[in-house]
Symmetry: C2
Subunit: 447 residues, 2 copies
């Protein structure tokens, strides 16, 4: 702390501070997710915030590479600089020679690196979860931040469809605990590929078709058909497309190996009859790398984008030299879940991390007496505090009120004489006098 | 995931991955600290990993500025570059024009910024805690990493000495819960200043004296005296110094306003008689900004540096334009506490976040039967899993063993017929057959 130069305090664009009440609510969601991850046998890992740029680049497309936050090399970074990039003032060429590290963009590429790097220390199938922030130098806008949390659970190294069923159950369990009504939609990439083949899209154009299908919710079936027409589909092919989409009836399609395989996988999920899930043939999910089951969670009570999504992928660790691993995983969108909980007023009242009781007093002697009681409460495992400075009583009460502390124990000379405490319920205003032991018992019995 | 170029997976220098068992142990320490913070009325805040460099620079000395990780501006950062710095290849001058953000170096400067920025939304006295990683581009060595966690609790805006007592109690409570024996030493900066005056160090040279005193543990009293002699102290002054240090007896010193004030503050802590704490006049703490009580925690069972430290400071928020706030805080050294716990084998056996029970089976039909039981366990709040793929029984048992799962429920045709489960205790090898309800009851009764 050398200089006392005054600086107006501010934050970088797209970054957020969180006040205690926000942290409490966010922790409530994350703790709920973490508890369910644990219940389902997932274990936590941690990776550093910074990865080598050689690990990160080329994984998220050209646009993604631009959105990576790059960390300047330490020390005299210009000593080993690319001279021609410097002379040309070519920022992107120069970056390579002055920045070797970047902030992680998601938790998936670090997982791939981790699995390959630690493959001898890992028990496969590897059921890992990771709840941590990621960074993207995106243009900030409503609901889009440059620092945000991801909550991911993946199973690496098992092709069993029980994993897919478990992940659907896991979604259902988390949203049930959060008190949110959702529809967990699922589909299968093999089914989609077979479907696209069957309506006449040639090999290599299926992904284009799937990308168009992904827009059904936004643009409707008629515009979808127009876009598919541009890919060269005939009227009867378009009609087949529309009737399958409208009925979810795959038996309308001619059989093919990939379609049959997809239907078999899908049937396993359908038969599992997981609560609040439904098969939806129009669910496509944007990411190219899914190869089997795909999932997406939507609120049925609140207008918001997807609250989570995931699916099976096969090539995750290939880029790091390990090709025989399949994986399946899901992700929770913390910020959106927060917004839905807040919008529907579903956070429990006791979510705030405030002490149960504050001790207020009138004199120095009263304060010393109160302090002993605070210690006794804490030793009994009851969160308690005392206003630290000897200030006027109303100021102490204002503090308790501002901090939303539910009970205040009041100590005056009369209480000291009686070795008693007058407990005020801050919600009802009711006051009762207790001995210390009874006070602690009374407060411990509260929910 | 565009290219399948193979990259050898690696991490940046000084950065660490954590395996599930490490995460579990680290979380155990952090959760213990967090629980006690809550018990004492502290509330969590969060700040972004990145701060503006204008917030961070000039706060940690010249050396500290060099250790800041700087984040390259997004986009065409050379378009607004400092031409002369570019032509001179002056890295440090260039940095200013191509990097506006940096990774936080500690949690204290972000706290100062936060308090000033959100002063109208904060309830003062502000009791906040923050458990989060920080980054320093230090040369990595044993026990020193470039990414590490800090666990800080501070009270901002209260000069009451009850805060100091509470922080000593908080330290005692955390280490008691962790099962570690410690000596929590405390001292007072005003006492030290008065002490340095009293032995003859002039105004402005007291900090030099305190810095020398800080080396007592390392170099011993005789070398300390030699160093003080170089500051111009006479033999009788050095003798006074030595006898006060050896006796902790401040009454040997001539009175002065700052010494008296310091002794008054110190007496409040001494009289509080917090368990496992002791006054130690030789405790100095390196940082310049402490102005009152100072604290440090040492293990009494294991040779390790300080496990935590803190103190009172008065000028924290001054650099951000707010000068009337005093603060007092403590910090826990997570990595060192981890090493002591590990070295003394003090982690509880059940710290690992593994499910209580795994279900193993012999056939596809057995597996379907097992899966229903897994669901029932989870619905009862019992963490459970099933080996997902239909593999040979020994492979399933190896998985349970590698993952340190304490119980395996075995299902064969006989069990299916009886609607029963053979539960194997993986530690004792003992096997008992239960109905599903009894199995769940039995496992829920385990600690």
């Amino acid at each position: 702390m050398e200089k006392a130069m005054k600086i107006k305090p501010s934050l970088p664009k797209g970054m957020r501070d969180f006040l205690p009440q926000d942290v409490a609510k966010r922790s409530y969601i994350m703790d709920t997710i973490r508890d369910v991850f644990y219940l389902f046998g997932f274990q936590p890992i941690e990776t550093p915030v910074m990865e080598n740029l050689s690990t990160l680049t080329g994984k998220y497309g050209e646009e993604g590479d631009k959105l990576l936050f790059k960390v300047l090399n330490s020390g005299d970074f210009l000593s080993k600089v690319d001279e021609s990039a410097l002379n040309d003032k070519n920022s992107s060429a120069l970056t390579k020679s002055i920045a070797e590290k970047g902030l992680r963009y998601d938790l998936t590429v670090p997982l791939a690196r981790y699995v390959v790097q630690h493959q001898n220390d890992i028990t496969f199938p590897f059921k890992r979860y990771h709840i941590a922030p990621v960074w993207r130098a995106d243009r900030p806008q409503k609901g889009r931040y440059r620092e945000f949390y991801q909550c991911d659970a993946d199973i690496i190294g098992s092709s069993s469809l029980y994993n897919e069923v478990e992940l659907l159950q896991l979604y259902a369990a988390v949203f049930k605990r959060l008190g949110l009504q959702v529809n967990i939609r699922y589909n299968n990439r093999k089914v989609l590929l077979g479907f696209m083949h069957a309506i006449g899209l040639e090999e290599g154009r299926e992904l284009q078709g799937i990308t168009i299908l992904d827009k059904l919710d936004k643009i409707g079936i008629d515009k979808l058909k127009l876009e598919l027409q541009e890919l060269g589909l005939t009227d009867s092919q378009l009609d087949l497309f529309a009737s399958v989409i409208q009925t979810n009836d795959l038996s309308l399609l001619p059989s093919s190996p990939i379609l049959d395989q997809g239907i078999e996988e899908l049937d396993f999920l359908i038969k599992a009859e997981v609560k609040n899930t439904s098969f939806d043939l129009s669910l496509a999910r944007g990411l190219d790398y899914y190869t089997g089951g795909i999932f997406e969670v939507l609120s049925t009570e609140y207008d918001m984008g997807s609250l989570g999504g995931g699916g099976r992928y096969d090539k995750l660790t290939e880029m790091f030299g390990k090709s025989d691993l399949t994986g399946v995983g899901i992700s929770f969108g913390l910020d959106r879940i927060y917004d839905v909980m807040e919008g529907l007023n579903r956070f429990p009242a006791q979510v705030h991390a405030v002490p149960v009781v504050m001790f207020a007093y009138f004199s120095e002697a009263n304060q010393a007496f109160a302090f002993k009681a605070v210690q006794a409460c804490r030793e009994a495992g009851l969160a308690a505090e005392m206003y630290p400075d000897l200030v006027k009583f109303p100021k102490q009460m204002k503090y308790a009120n501002d901090k939303c502390i539910p009970y205040v124990a009041i100590i005056g000379d009369k209480e000291m004489e009686m070795q008693a405490y007058t407990l005020k319920d801050m919600q009802t205003g009711e006051q009762t006098t207790f001995s210390l032991k009874d006070l602690i018992d009374h407060l411990q019995a509260k929910p």
